[in-house]
């Protein structure tokens, strides 16, 4: 490319110089011929006039000297005066004179006309001479046109000098501009690539070795990339935040998962409403701030750094516990790198899995506890069945005892399974209330009948203090009875012999309050916190000695809550407990 340009420039230069020289030579040649013609003509006219008078006086010597002198002075190749019969009177070359003296007269012969001719060789002039009283003669001159040889030489020398100088100058310019021309060529190639659709900066940038032009080109590419990056960021921000992206913004705010977009400097570019809730900060403060102000966990920050700053493609998911005034919780963070042409960024998705975690733990605990609770009666049944089989025939008393234990354990197993089925129904949400008119006085009367004998057997004083008029409530009779049975049954179970149990039932503010107060072993403050959890048994030796599944209170409370009521407890260790079941009188829930 560069060579083509150089040769073209050189050819144009040399051609221009050659044309100039040719034109100069042509002009000089024409000018010399014209001058020579004028010179020869003038000399011929002068000689003709002078010769006429001198020849008329037969004075030939001066004529011949004049001719000789003219031939020398004007560098004439031929100069001659001749008579019509061809006799030469005078000549530039004296040896060619054929007539020494003029005759007195001579014949005229053909009339000679004055003429001047010019050709490539020279200028030829013929002039008539009228020798008075004698006859006509003619003067002939021929002078070679002398071309200016010095001019040709000078032109050749000049042309050679100009050519050489031009080539040297061209070589110097070529050498000095070689890298520049290469850079320009490379830039041209890049421009053609852009025209064909090439977008990658790495493919379009040039080596800095190409010089300033290449460096300037690379700066242009960088500026273009920066502008495109800013434009992309603006578009991104506009899409997410600006009025143009109102729909997208609304869509993101409709997601219950938190969504945060951070750039490669960890500055938050976007946060949806859920993210603001999870980070417990106003969205205006989050957007534009550094994410580390709102997320402190080192591992999570490291993951965000890796995705947004380091440009890693690794995706991370972390579950992080948090604590608020309302208790603890678990947030799951998904960190996803966002690949963009201009720069890296990361998307952080946040979801609250606290309830799932609680449910999982509860389920695991339930399975573990259920397994444990089922194993004990099953083991007892197996052992006593083996005893009865092996020793029963020999020892009828042992067989009877074994069968009694098997019977008790079977009933225990039945209770556990019943309770577990109820818990399972509650967990699955399939437990439904069958509303009916429930006469509380009847329910309480049945309750008294059920437990009166047991209380008497344990020497416990049990009293029912009922409101004068108990209402008929809309509720599920079996489930209300179940809740009351569990509370009263527990009171009898955990109240030592000689104790007292008071059942107080009152109606106030549209609520039925069923209170069971005992003078039993009581419950410690620590145990009260977990009292309504499934399979929970208080860590008290006296409790461990009493059979129970730890499901009763949990079920009772669920029954109450299904009716829109609740169960609360007040207790003091070694002094007794008070369980209060409240039920709305006009239950419509569930």
């Amino acid at each position: 490319m560069v060579a083509v340009i150089g040769v073209t420039v050189a050819a144009i230069l040399v051609a221009s110089v050659a044309a100039g020289v040719w034109w100069t030579l042509q002009s000089e040649t024409v000018s010399a011929a014209s001058t020579r013609k004028q010179e020869v003509q003038t000399a011929a006219e002068l000689l003709a006039v002078s010769s006429e008078s001198l020849m008329a006086g037969d004075n030939l010597s001066p004529v011949r000297r004049m001719i000789t002198e003219a031939a020398r002075r004007h560098q004439l190749d031929r100069i001659r005066i001749s008579l019509p019969d061809g006799q030469v009177v005078a000549d530039g070359d004296p040896t060619k004179i054929t007539l020494i003296n003029l005759p007195a007269t001579w014949q005229g012969g053909q009339v000679v006309q004055a003429s001047t001719t010019q050709d490539q060789d020279g200028v030829s002039v013929t002039m008539p001479i009228d020798v008075t009283g004698r006859g006509p003669a003619k003067l002939e001159l021929f002078g070679t046109i002398q071309r200016p040889t010095w001019l040709a030489s000078a032109a050749q020398a000049g042309l050679a000098a100009i050519g050489a100088g031009g080539l040297i100058a061209l070589w110097l310019v070529y050498r000095s501009t070689r890298s520049r021309l290469r850079a320009l060529g490379a830039i041209r190639e890049s421009l053609l690539a852009i025209e064909k659709g090439e977008e990658s900066d790495s493919a379009l940038s040039l080596s800095p070795n190409f010089g300033h032009e290449a460096q300037a080109w690379n700066r242009l590419l960088n500026d273009r990339s920066e502008l495109r990056r800013k434009a992309a960021m603006e578009r991104s921000k506009e899409a997410l935040v600006g009025t143009g992206g109102a729909d997208l913004r609304g869509a993101c705010d409709a997601i219950s998962q938190g969504m945060i977009l951070v750039d490669d400097t960890l500055v938050v570019q976007y946060a949806n409403g859920a993210a603001a809730t999870f980070l417990q900060a106003k969205r205006d403060l989050i957007v534009g701030g550094t994410i580390t102000r709102f997320i402190r966990d080192e591992n999570l920050v490291a993951c965000i750094n890796e995705a947004a700053v380091s440009g890693s493609r690794k995706r991370s998911t972390l579950e992080i516990e948090y604590a608020t005034d309302e208790g603890t919780g678990v947030l799951r963070y998904h960190v996803r790198p966002v690949r963009r042409e201009d720069r890296a960024s990361a998307m952080i998705l946040i979801e609250d899995i606290t309830q799932q975690r609680v449910a999982d733990e509860s389920r695991n605990q339930f399975v573990a506890q259920a397994t444990h609770e089922l194993r004990t009666p099953l083991t007892n049944i197996r052992l006593y069945v083996e005893t009865a089989l092996e020793e029963g025939e020999k020892d009828p008393a042992l067989r009877e005892k074994s069968l009694n234990v098997i019977n008790q354990e079977s009933r225990r197993l039945e209770r556990i399974v019943d309770d577990m089925l109820k818990v399972s129904e509650i967990e699955a949400g399939s437990l439904k209330l069958n509303h009916d008119d429930v006469r509380l006085d009847q329910v309480l009367a049945d309750l008294l009948v059920d437990y009166e004998a047991q209380a008497k057997e344990k020497s416990i004083v049990m009293g029912f203090n009922l409101a004068p008029k108990l209402p008929v409530i809309q509720a599920d009779r079996d489930k209300v009875q179940l809740a009351m049975h569990n509370l009263l049954g527990n009171a009898l179970k955990y109240t030592p012999a000689g104790g007292r149990i008071a059942v107080n039932v009152d109606v106030a503010d549209g609520k039925v309050v069923f209170e069971v107060r005992d003078t039993g072993i009581g419950i410690s403050k620590d145990d009260q916190v977990h009292l309504f959890e499934k399979f929970f048994r208080a860590k008290d030796r006296r409790v461990e000695s009493i059979v129970g599944t730890g499901l009763g209170l949990s079920i009772a409370r669920e029954m109450a809550r299904l009716h829109g009521g609740d169960i609360t407890v007040e207790s003091e260790l070694d002094k007794g407990s008070t369980f209060t079941l409240t039920l709305p009188t006009n239950v419509e829930a569930a």
């Binding site: 705010d253 409403g273 417990q280 309302e326 609250d352």
Partner: protein, 111 residues
């Protein structure tokens, strides 16, 4: 008006008891807003003990719904009684809330 709180696992059930009217509505709104922020959105309103409500009470529910909606969540109402259901239906606002038959079902919706 009394406002009760019950924890069901990680979900808090807010149970206002009494008519949702006048200043009581404002008190309930304040309590619910605070609870929503603290519980990160895991809460349910048990409306079974609201016998009736006035325009201010209705406005309170709408404000709560809008506030919660900005976080991509929806106000969950449990045990909606007949009166409240009719109020919401007549004002064509029943679609603004997620309604559940009972508290347990509402709580399970967080799973």
């Amino acid at each position: 008006m009394q406002i009760h709180e019950q924890k069901h696992g990680a979900v808090t059930v807010l149970t206002p008891e009494g008519p949702l009217i006048q200043d009581d509505a404002d008190a309930f709104r304040q309590r619910a807003m605070t609870l929503y922020a603290k519980s990160l959105g895991r809460f349910v309103v048990d409306v079974s003990k609201i016998p009736f409500m006035d325009s201010r009470g209705l406005e309170t529910f709408l404000d709560l719904s809008d506030h919660i909606g900005q976080s991509g969540n929806v106000l969950k109402l449990a045990s909606v009684n007949k009166t409240i259901r009719e109020v919401l239906s007549l004002t064509e606002l029943d679609h603004a809330f997620e309604q559940f038959e009972d508290v347990n079902t509402a709580v399970r919706s967080f799973l």
